[in-house]
Symmetry: C2
Subunit: 128 residues, 2 copies
Amino acid sequence: MTTSHTGTGAVDPAVREELARLRDSIDNIDAAVVHMLAERFKCTQQVGHLKAGHQLPPADPAREAKQIARLRALAESAKLDPAFAEKFLNFIIAEVIHHHERIAESNGNGNGNGNGNENGNGTAPASG
Amino acid sequence: MTTSHTGTGAVDPAVREELARLRDSIDNIDAAVVHMLAERFKCTQQVGHLKAGHQLPPADPAREAKQIARLRALAESAKLDPAFAEKFLNFIIAEVIHHHERIAESNGNGNGNGNGNENGNGTAPASG
């Protein structure tokens, strides 16, 4: 009647309940993050259009260095591995570059130069 | 007096202001996401300890499949690329596995088996 441990079906109900509670929190957090990221990509799209429309250079190394330093400090205070925070930013930047490449391709210039600082205002779309 | 475009220093003030506004939003979003991820890792650490303490299998493919399907659907409704949402989940899972491997190593069993479903309850810590 207690724990037989052959799988989640045969587990102490209290343990299963605790696991479900944690998974619910994980799912809530994931939903929040997905929505935040959707909003973030809306911002970087706007940055891309703005830069393209005003012949601004896509890369801004000083801005990127500041972002990395800031995220690392925030991670530290949140007890998150700062190296992970930096990796995370790079992961996002790579995606934004990918977005901009697709925009460039669909604009027919094919110039996905991949210069993706500032979270991806890298290749600015030709329109805007 | 207007836009000379040699760098952000010589840009139309209205454009610079708009760029700053977007960057502030990006920074706010990044801070929110970093804090959400810190909270998420707290949950997965607890899951790891719970599973280790109750001899539960680290992997749960059904749970993982459900998470992927759910995140893809959420992404779609938020106008985020579903493929990116899935890639993002895998990125996080990889980090949680890494956490668990470190815990396993520091517990001296070195058994970082890397089986990291459910966002990283993969290698359960030996304690708990």
